[in-house]
Amino acid sequence: MNSAEPASGSTGAGRRRPARPGGLPLARFLARRLVAAALLCVGITLVAFVLTQLVPGDPAAANLGQRAIGDPAAVAAFRAKYGLDKPVPVQYLTYLGNVLQGNFGMSQQSHRPVAQDLAEYVPATIELALFAIVLSLLVGVALGVVAAVNRDRWPDQVLRVVSLGGVSMPTFWVALVAFYLLFFKFGLLPGGGRLDPGMNPPPYATGFYTIDAALAGEWDVLSSAAGHLVLPSLVLAVYTVGMLMRFTRASVLEILGNDYVRAARAKGLPERVVILRHVLRPAMVAIITVAGVAFGSLLSGAVLVENIFSWPGLGQYAYRSAVNLDLPGIMGVSIVVAAVYILINLLVDLLYGVIDPRIRLT
């Protein structure tokens, strides 16, 4: 045996890169994401515009009365008024220019500027969806962790059924059952609308009734607005809770197998700390990805739920615009929904950077 005693002198390679907490890489990361998001927004307007061109149906026919439609002069006047007589590329550029100035055109259905409609309806839906996603994250992640930690034991089995039920029950059915039980039968929660009947909305600042009421110090309005949020957001959250629970469980189980979790346990840390600090943080990367997608599904799920709970939001507006072939309305809705999606994706990307320093630093 030729025992090589360790050589003297310094050993071990040096640090690869000096630590730069924050600094340039983060700024570049942010800038890249923002530019991509802006380009995507412009692209969305183009797609929305082209799609509305492809839709069969004549806006004049949909919006003029029976008598006017038989009068070529009236039709021509209608088309000239809304610029429908110009070449399509010109129509698009005009539209894009207007949108950039916050002008989405006049709604042919409400006879108000689309921007004004959106300012009223969008916050209602976002408020609802935000409430639902926060609720889903709290409940879904907590239950998912419980299921993973108790893998294959009874809490896991019970929660598996719960999550499967959550993702398989159709939203309209959940909505009807919840409405019947919690409002009609037991009267535990207010049924429809954003406020108690007869109550005036708080002065407009953000369009979120809860925030506006808090800003104005109208506490009774705040409590009424929050109370009205509970039932529809609960219904919306049923599906996302189930989905987030399943993904959290899978993600936590995967992380639990890592060496660094064993290392954390070898340090004698309480299991609670091991799970919350060492396991949940890396698991959140997958969870927020799913939550971002789930938020999108909440927006589309809102169309139905808003109708059932008479929630004056984007879903109802989109539905009315589509039925009346209100092109400015449809395009406004499309662009706003797409922008929300892009914003959510941007947020998810930024959260990756917050959770995982390796993304920030490379």
Partner: protein, 324 residues
Amino acid sequence: MGALLEVEDLTVWLATRRGPRMAVDGLSFQVGSGEIFGIAGESGSGKTMTAMALLGLLPHAARTSGKAVFEGRDLLSMSARQLRAVRGRRIAMVSQDPSTSLHPMLSIETQLTEHMRHHLGLGRSEARGRAVELLATVRIPDPEQALGAHAAQFSGGMRQRIAIAVALACEPRLLLADEPTTALDVTVQAGILRLLHRLRAERELAVVVITHDLGVLSAVADRICVMYGGRTAEVGPRENVLTRPRHPYTRGLLDALPHPEGGAAALRPIPGSPPSLGEVPEGCPFHPRCGYAVPDCRTERPAPVLVEPGHASACPPDPLGGIA
């Protein structure tokens, strides 16, 4: 040198699809305070499971029997809560690959201070001050700045130094180092081994080095235990085991090591492969691969017996006895 850790007849069963299988079979050894004790063996010999059993970190549904008395208390009969108070505080672990055992998303400061704050009740700034000292002890340049960095910003050798600093944070008496140098380059290995050697001297720290590489143990270990099939093949002082091995398996491991003066031709592999979990043969577990096996080896399960003071071998025919 009083025994800090006394393992007696440690047996570990792991749960498999086909029922419990024995991974460690009646292992006994002692580690003195301030001693570097090497456990050598191929993969599957039960060496890692031995360390996990001592820490109470065996996989779910694993069972143990026997005793592992550490500082007068039996680790194997402790409650989860009692074990947590020992883990990281009195017994610490360094594992094989620092690129996976350090948390990729937590700062070095968090990983170095969280257990100090938990076990020793230190405040944030106090723990931070000790973390800086620890990083200096393991020779990390610019410790202050390193605290704010993350594992990915360091090289493999530096990561293992940090992992050792993490293990040392609460001034444990015993360090379990499971393949501490396997994932590292040879030159970096030497530095880590020197570090372990120095720490043992400075802190009267006992170290159990678990490895498949007798070369590593030849550099640092005071005593060596060679494991095969979950059992002790041979145990004794480093010099005795490495220069006068009495068990054919130890001989085989030594012959399989590269020598600087011999080329590749000088390497003599042990024929066959180690038994997998639950398929340890009857009799001496090594007999199917042993060139010296006699009929008794197939039926008699040998226990280690002293062949000279402090040096025991589990090979009753003792074919190497005359060679030394």
